[in-house]
């Protein structure tokens, strides 16, 4: 099986779906001829034609709105928001429209829309190229939110998102595009080829939405996380020797409660981790769910390891990023009591 980077895997998912379904089309800023600032759409316009993969004006609200109209017509649009930090102009169209059209029309119309967008830090992007806005979508009824952590899942989840009949926010951890990243920014970059989940079939396959994966089995403490932080959590476990079970949530909404409960009931301890600012982050929902479902199994408070409650500052990339050290501290605190 070929190995792929996450970029190649995402490109392959789009390629497969463009070939399979004439109603699939892809558009966004700089994604057509140029292939996107992260090259995820490279070659697709050339291969599938100008009307299948094309550029958009710089108007995120307009591009999501147009995609909603296309979805209502019967197409399966995929749009790219160049950075998750630039999704806010489209927030009304996503929240008030895409998320609610099926409901408010009693099923007469629906919007099979996928919004792909690179999120997260680790690339010295400063406050407007590093954000993790997932919690702003998980709060909205009618949206699914997906975050892959490796090439295999990225392709399979993106195919599932495109084939899903509801709007999906598909957040791509940009720091993982070209290789797994465990938070040790001072170490040499590892290529994806060395990671087992870079083996990606060429053709069509799906990783189902709503199902978590156990990225590392363990028995001492459960880490609930997603995206880049999956690799950070594994590193923290290996480095501390703490036998942590790392659950890669993959889909945040709908959440795979069974996998979460099974793990926390087993370990009795839990750390939730994400890059997004702590307060009202998705980790808060995870804390709430875990204590609701596993209260009598918990032997210690659930620990949150997250971005600080500040914007993501350029010169403090590694002070802001919740790397293996902060995660290790969280694991230790969870085991202390």
């Amino acid at each position: 099986m070929p190995t792929m980077t996450m970029i190649q895997a995402l490109n392959s998912a789009l390629d497969v779906m463009l070939a399979k379904d004439p109603d699939v089309l892809v558009f966004g800023e700089d994604i057509g001829y140029f292939g996107g600032v992260f090259r995820v759409t490279e070659g697709l316009q050339k291969k599938h034609g100008q009307t299948r993969c094309f550029d958009s004006p710089i108007g995120e609200a307009g591009l999501v709105a147009a995609a909603i109209g296309m979805g209502a017509y019967g197409l399966r649009p995929i749009v790219e928001i160049q950075f998750a930090d630039y999704i806010y102009p489209a927030y009304d169209q996503i929240v008030s429209e895409a998320a609610r059209i099926r409901y408010r029309s009693a099923g007469e119309f629906h919007v099979p829309l996928t919004i792909r967008t690179p999120y997260g830090g680790g690339i010295y992007g400063g406050q407007t190229h590093s954000q993790s806005p997932e919690a702003l979508f998980t709060h909205v009824a009618g949206l699914k939110t997906v975050v892959p952590s490796n090439p295999y899942d990225a392709k399979g989840l993106l195919i599932s998102a495109i084939e899903d009949d509801d709007p999906v926010i598909f957040l791509e951890p940009k720091r993982l595009y070209n290789g797994p990243f465990d938070g040790h920014h001072d170490k040499a970059v590892t290529p994806w080829a060395k990671h087992k989940l870079s083996e990606v079939p060429d053709g069509h396959y799906a990783v189902p939405l709503g199902k978590a994966a156990v990225a590392r089995a363990g028995s001492a403490v459960t880490v609930l996380t997603y995206g880049t932080m999956v690799h950070v959590a594994i590193a923290a476990a290996e480095e501390t020797g703490i036998d942590a079970e790392v659950v890669d949530l993959r889909t945040l909404m709908p959440i795979d409660i069974e996998t979460i409960v099974r793990s926390v009931q087993k370990t009795g301890r839990c750390v939730v981790a994400h890059e997004a600012t702590l307060t009202s982050g998705f980790g808060a929902e995870l804390c709430a769910l875990v204590q609701e479902h596993c209260f009598w199994h918990l032997e210690a408070p659930i620990e949150r390891v997250a971005g600080w409650d500040t914007p993501y500052p350029h010169a403090f990339e590694w002070d802001y990023f919740p790397g293996p050290k902060r995660l290790a501290d969280g694991l230790k605190r969870a085991l202390e009591n």
């Binding site: 089309l25 709105a65 109209g69 008030s96 009693a106 709908p254």
Partner: protein, 410 residues
Amino acid sequence: MRNRSTLSLRIPQPHRRPGDKPDFSTIAIPPAGSLERPATDANHRDLIPYAYGLIRVLNEDHKAVGAWNPRLDPAVLIKGLRDMVLTRAFDDRMVRVQRQGKISFYVKSTGEEATAVAFANAIEKNDMCFPSYRQQGFLIARGCPLVEMMCQCFSNARDPMKGRQLPVLYSFREYGYFTISGNLGTQAPQAVGWAMASAYKGDDRIAVTFIGEGTTAEGDFHHALNFAAVYRAPVILNVVNNQWAISSFSGMAGGDETTFASRAIGYGLPGLRVDGNDYLAVYAAAQWAAERARANLGATVIELFTYRAEGHSTSDDPSRYRPSDEWRAWPLGDPIDRLKNHLIAIGAWSEKQHQALIDEAVTLVRETQRETESIGTLADGSRAPVSAMFEDVFAEMPWHIAEQKKAAGA
């Protein structure tokens, strides 16, 4: 130092408020028939004057004159008249029903019926409408059963929206009527996307959208114009300039500075300004724009100049912010009267027939109400089952909503 004048902040104000005499003397009304009808493939630069003129067909003698006369069969006109009369009867009745506490909310289209009705009748059945909340005339002209509309307003057990939407926020896919949003303006760029999809598929369907003049201030109106221009989408972007946005006069949306049709110019789109109370003019403009769109020449912006005769909605009391008798002074009159008078002038109609038409409409609406109330009203407990609250959030119900449904005993 230069001698500098001091700046001051200008807040636009209408020149008439409660107690003032209605005054439309500043509004220029060119004579009917004075504008040429350009070719539908004309260059947008040559069309600039149409953004500042006013396309009118019906003259003072109730004759249809000039190049924009769509030369319609009297039977076609009588259908339009009937649709408008029925729309007005429906609106009147629903407001009464609201006053009786049987529904929570209603929005009339009185005085603006021609804008929606003429459009519906001028375009094709499988073209799609992305409405605001004031185009019930479009649905009625398309033949949507009144009882379905009324059940929606009553939120009763047969409400096709299953009680999820405020009265008036219809969705009727079968009649080419997109689900109405409570959030202003969002439908306009969606219409553009729908039209792009039609072009993408190589179909021949076009989209039509309606937006209030107040709502042109939303970013989404700009996105609609921009995307329509860039991708040359087959869409007609109507601005219903009824001069009021709740309590705000059109100057608050920039209407004191220029026309709303002229917004098209900066995108390289044609903008037509049309007498919105002239059924024939609206019909003709719709035909022109539809022909242009179907010829792959892209979008047209149409400003439909009219007047909101009644309150914004049943929650509104317009006498708080404007002279209460303004509508009577409005120089473009009543669209129903004008079409009626035209039909009479060409010998195709009579006062008697008109009265019969009104009676028929009123009766039909009354009977529809009876039928609707026999199904039930929200107030007396008829509605979709509570389980409907939890359905259609997603295509398939996820576990957490299923749990909540159970917790609600639904």
